[in-house]
């Protein structure tokens, strides 16, 4: 019913019959001999058009509200609205309501005043639908289909903002048919404030569209009203207005639809739209769009340059479904993707267990000794986090997870691979073996960040017992760590790694060859670039062996943790020029080399650095997602950029700031908040050590954090 209202109304006869005649006369008159006749004819046409349109134009006045800035129109400025139905629906420029007025008054042509209520706004096209309590309003009789418009044809902008008693006019031409990704028509008719929310009509009085400020659609090209009198005006096409009005009547805002991908940075203007990152919580990701895919088309529109993707999506609403054609490995596939208004950052799900890190050989050796033929391989749980889903579904330390959602898992790596397909809120089916019996448990995963630091910090005695349970000599012997550790350590290993200038010093547990070790890579600036302590005279460095002097000293503090929590700790030297691709590549290669040498894996790999190298380390971790599981940054000069995590490529952060921190405490807080907004797990600590030249030493907080790095 209402949909047809704009097309059939009592003014239709007048507009359709009379105006073409006037327009025809005008056209003829422009060919007439005298300029005066020209101008008279034009003036008459313009007035006739204005008169015919007058019943559909309302004056909008607002009361109250707060102007957000000086350039925003305050509540004292009148604007114009266009009637779009016979039952009191009015479209206005959202700009006119930006100050969030307490009262909106609409004055019709017959001078009656009505209180208007906001129905909903089209956020992509910057107009708002109002409703007044009236049943005899007059919408425009006819709209011009966009396909009928031609650049150069005369267009008249109409408003009622100047004066209630008359329609104000501005005559121009249509300057362009598609702007702002097809959301707007461009005109050179003056579309300054007086005409915002008003109508653009053709010489026959047919509605071309609704005037909105340029800034509304230009998206950051210009600030606010800057182009208001430059001969550039934007008009939302009438057919788009009416299509949106039908949806807006439901009462919900129409929001821009987002695909949720970012593209590989374009080196050239005609660079293809290759996906660099697809947001895990976007429907595109769920439907299978992945980094590396080339977006070839959206619906039927071919995307052969990156800029076209933005244009193809600019006019689309959240909730719309588009067909995305992607090329992957030479194959083309169409994926139906629902556009979204907001996309939450990806948050890794958490069960709340720490898998065993005992060497597999030891582990299975024990089991074999128990001579149960069907004794499953699986993942032994060494600790359950307090208040976690695992704790609440009665998973206990010592349980062995043998299957995840019906799929057998033999190792922590296999369990992790299954885990990465889950989302926060998913309920997973776990099969565990406890005392030789199978149990099926169904915990519901929570967001990793919902576990508090207190829950993480709380250590139960049972956890400690099981953590050490696979190592008989350590059982019930916390106090003995220090004395035992020396014996547990292999001698210092020095590795030559291609790409690194200095050999890399490493300490490892004695049984490192049995596997199950994590890797801590301490990234240092080269000795000659390292700030030196003034108290330490150069003459003290009598030992010129690069390995045994600073490197040994740097690693000696890590002995305990290397021995007891199965870490390989390596100290490498890389020149910390920020954003250095070379340095990032050096670190990456070093880590891969260490993995190959010691049999460690990324699941339990951590980088640690302080000062200038901290930023480099952060950038390495974020630009090589999946390279490590956590970073320790101590007194960083800066942290950034912050990218979204991907499933399987999550990153835990241990941030230590000190009083002499180059990153101010306030700035550090801002960084931490930003990281938490992106759902990173961040642990912060105050750094007691003040000396900048002191090597990184593990403290209690850091040790606790390291112990939790491989939690699931």
């Amino acid at each position: 019913m209402t949909r047809n209202a704009p097309y059939h109304c009592r003014h239709a006869t007048l507009a359709v019959v009379a105006l073409p005649l006037i327009a025809a006369y005008f056209v003829a008159a422009t060919n007439a001999a005298t300029t005066q006749a020209d101008s008279n004819a034009q003036a008459q046409t313009v007035r006739a058009v204005a008169e015919a349109s007058a019943p559909s134009l309302v004056r909008i006045e607002t009361i109250g509200g707060i102007a957000r800035n000086r350039r925003a129109t305050s509540g004292e400025t009148a604007s114009t609205g266009v009637i779009v139905s016979a039952d009191g629906y009015i479209v206005v420029s959202s700009h006119a309501l930006r100050h969030n007025p307490r009262s909106i008054l609409a004055r019709l042509e017959d001078d009656t005043l009505h209180a208007a209520t906001v129905v909903a706004a089209d956020q992509t096209r910057e107009f708002t639908l109002l409703k007044i309590d009236a049943t005899n309003t007059t919408p425009f009789a006819t709209i011009v289909p966009r396909d009928d418009l031609r650049v150069g044809q005369t267009a008249i902008a109409l408003g009622r903002a100047v004066d209630q008693r008359q329609v104000n006019v501005s005559v121009g031409i249509i300057s362009a048919l598609s702007r702002a990704g097809g959301r707007a028509i461009q005109t050179d008719a003056n579309t300054a404030r007086n005409n915002y929310g008003g109508a653009l009509v053709d010489l026959q009085g047919r509605l071309i569209g609704v005037v909105v400020p340029v800034s509304a659609l230009a998206g950051g090209i210009v600030a606010d009203l800057d182009l208001y009198d430059s001969g550039i005006g934007f008009v939302v096409p009438a057919d788009q207005v009416f299509a949106a009005v039908d949806r807006l009547k439901q009462g919900a805002d129409l929001q821009p639809g987002r695909l949720g991908v970012s593209l590989v940075k374009a080196e050239t203007l005609d660079a293809p739209a290759v996906v660099a990152h697809c947001r895990p919580n976007a429907d595109a990701y769920r439907q299978g769009v992945r980094p590396g895919d080339r977006i070839a088309a959206i619906d039927s529109l071919s995307i052969d340059r990156q800029v076209l993707l933005g244009e193809a999506l600019a006019g689309r609403y959240a909730g719309d479904t588009v067909s995305v054609t992607v090329d992957r490995d030479g194959e083309s596939r169409d994926i139906a993707v629902k556009l979204m208004a907001t996309i939450e950052p990806y948050e890794p799900p958490l069960l709340g267990i720490l898998p065993t890190r005992a060497p597999q050989s030891l582990d299975t050796g024990d089991r074999d000794g128990g001579d149960t033929a069907d004794s499953p391989s699986g993942v032994v749980i060494r600790r359950v986090l307090e208040n976690s889903p695992a704790a609440m579904s009665d998973i206990r330390p010592g349980d062995t997870i043998v299957a995840f959602a019906g799929t057998e898992v033999a190792s922590p790596a296999e369990l992790r691979a299954q885990f990465e397909r889950q989302r926060v809120g998913d309920t997973v089916v776990l099969t565990i073996v406890r005392d030789g019996e199978r149990h099926v448990l169904e915990p519901t995963l929570v967001g990793a960040s919902t576990i508090t630091e207190e829950d993480l910090a709380a250590e139960t005695t049972s956890e400690r017992a099981v953590a050490d349970g696979n190592r008989a000599d350590d059982k019930n012997a916390d106090e003995n760590h220090t004395t035992d550790s020396v014996a547990d350590l292999a001698p210092l290993v020095s590795l030559d790694i291609p790409g690194l200038d200095a050999p890399v010093a490493c300490i490892t547990p004695v049984d490192v060859k049995l596997g199950g070790c994590g890797l801590i890579v301490v990234v240092n600036a080269p000795a000659n670039e390292r700030p030196t302590d003034a108290d330490q005279p150069d003459t003290d460095q009598s030992n010129n062996d690069p390995l045994t002097a600073p490197a040994t000293e740097a690693l000696s503090d890590w002995n305990d943790i290397a021995a007891h929590q199965r870490w390989v700790v390596a100290s490498i030297s890389v020149s910390p020029s920020p954003n250095s691709e070379d340095a990032i590549e050096q670190i990456t290669q070093a880590i891969e080399h260490l993995h190959a040498h010691f049999g460690t894996s990324a699941d339990r790999t951590v980088m640690a650095a302080q000062g200038d190298t901290a930023l480099l380390t952060w950038q390495t971790a974020t630009q090589r997602p999946g390279l490590c599981r956590g970073v320790i940054v101590i007194r960083p000069a800066a942290i950034g950029p912050v990218n979204e995590q991907l499933p399987g490529q999550t990153l835990g952060i241990f941030l230590s700031v000190g009083a002499d921190n180059p990153l101010t405490v306030k700035r550090a807080e801002a960084v931490v908040n930003q990281l938490r907004e992106w759902k990173y797990s961040v642990t912060t600590a105050m750094d007691a050590a003040a000396g900048v030249a002191a090597p990184i030493a593990p403290n209690d907080e850091m040790v606790r954090w390291l112990d939790l790095v491989d939690r699931l």
Binding site: T30, S39, T45, R70, I173
Partner: protein
């Protein structure tokens, strides 16, 4: 910059492309008629036509002779030392806007033929913000204010002025093309402007608010004087610039006084109100006026007051006073100051989404 020039697009020129009209005709008429009409349309499109007819050129040649370049004080703090003016008599009377440019003993007027004159400021009208200069010349081409015309909304116009000081020496002033967008009073309705002038102006859809434009002429396509480009004026609320002209009829009523011709004394348009009406006389208290734009919500209504008798209630929002929108407590008080206590005032209040008319009279 937000005050760039609008491209000189001629609406009538653009309208000569009758594509949409021909399409409509073709679909509506039978084939036979189409074959009759098409050649005519073809002729209509293809006939070579100058951008402006000879008449237009004549009109502009004549009019440009009546617009002068004025140079005077300024040149610092963004105040340009030049503006425009129009000759209104053959004997060297030049009408222009009153501005800082005239604030010197050495004002120079340059005609379109390059002749330079020392000008004397003989009179100023602060209410219209206009001034009259004289130069020692005769037989000047000029606009006759008696033959000036009114320009209804939609009238195509030319605006002639030395915008941005582009024209120098014997170069005539620049011409812009546009239309009359509206005619309205420069009062509160349009915006907040630092000017004492509250009368009617023509709003133009061409950007005439430029340095040096003030004092220029607006004419219709027949060459008749329509108005004088006003001084640059910015809305204090949103920094937008107003493109406007002082209407010829307003100028015609002001010029005789400037020329020293006796006229009937100009009685002030604002009537003196001896005892303005007050909110307290009605028994109304508004909410505290704490922010710049506090809406005029009623906070309380006195016992046995006129307001209570009229049915007003706390939380009603006063939106109109005698039909004029009042956007804030301050605007309401300003509006009441102009109303005598003895008058009956028509208040419109919003209660929820309902608008109520409430006539009020102080006891």
């Amino acid at each position: 910059m937000n005050r760039s020039m609008t491209p000189l697009t001629s609406p009538s020129h653009a309208a000569r492309h009758p594509a949409d009209n021909t399409g409509r005709l073709r679909s509506a008429l039978s084939h036979a008629i189409v074959w009759l009409v098409l050649p005519a349309v073809f002729l209509l499109i293809s006939t070579p036509r100058p951008v402006r007819s000879a008449d237009a050129r004549d009109v502009l040649d004549r009019a440009r002779g009546c617009v002068v370049k004025i140079f005077g004080a300024g040149g610092f703090r963004g105040l340009e030392p030049y503006q425009s003016g129009v000759t209104i008599t053959a004997e060297g009377h030049i009408l222009t806007v009153w501005s800082h440019v005239l604030n010197t003993d050495f004002v120079t007027v340059v005609l379109d033929d390059g002749r330079r004159f020392d000008a004397e400021v003989v009179a100023a009208d602060p209410r219209h913000e206009i001034a009259l200069l004289t130069v020692d010349a005769s037989d000047l081409p000029h606009f006759d204010l008696k033959n000036a015309t009114e320009a209804p909304v939609g009238t195509p116009i030319f605006a002639l002025s030395n915008l941005f000081g582009i024209a120098s020496g014997d170069e005539p002033v620049s011409v812009q093309s546009g239309n009359v967008a509206a005619r309205s009073s420069l009062g509160r309705r349009l915006g907040v402007y630092e000017t004492p002038y509250q009368g009617d102006v023509y709003l133009l859809d061409v950007v005439t608010s430029n340095p040096g434009s003030a004092g220029g002429a607006v004419i219709d396509h027949a060459g008749r004087f329509v108005g004088m480009i006003g001084k640059e004026m910015q809305d204090a609320r949103d920094d937008t610039w107003l493109n406007f002209a002082l209407p010829a009829d307003e100028l015609a009523s002001a010029v005789p006084a400037l020329l020293g011709v006796e006229t009937e004394s100009d009685t002030s348009k604002t009537t003196n109100v001896n005892q303005p009406v007050t909110l307290s006389a009605w028994g109304l208290v508004l909410v505290p006026d704490v922010v710049a734009n506090t809406p005029a919500y009623i906070d309380s209504v006195g016992e046995n007051s006129a307001a209570r008798a009229a049915g007003l209630r706390p939380d009603d929002l006063i939106v109109l006073v005698d039909g004029q929108v009042v956007t804030s407590c301050r605007r309401l008080r300003e509006a009441l100051e102009a109303i005598d206590r003895s008058a009956t005032v028509q208040l419109t209040v919003q209660r929820g989404s309902e608008l109520l008319e409430v006539p009020l009279r102080a006891p």
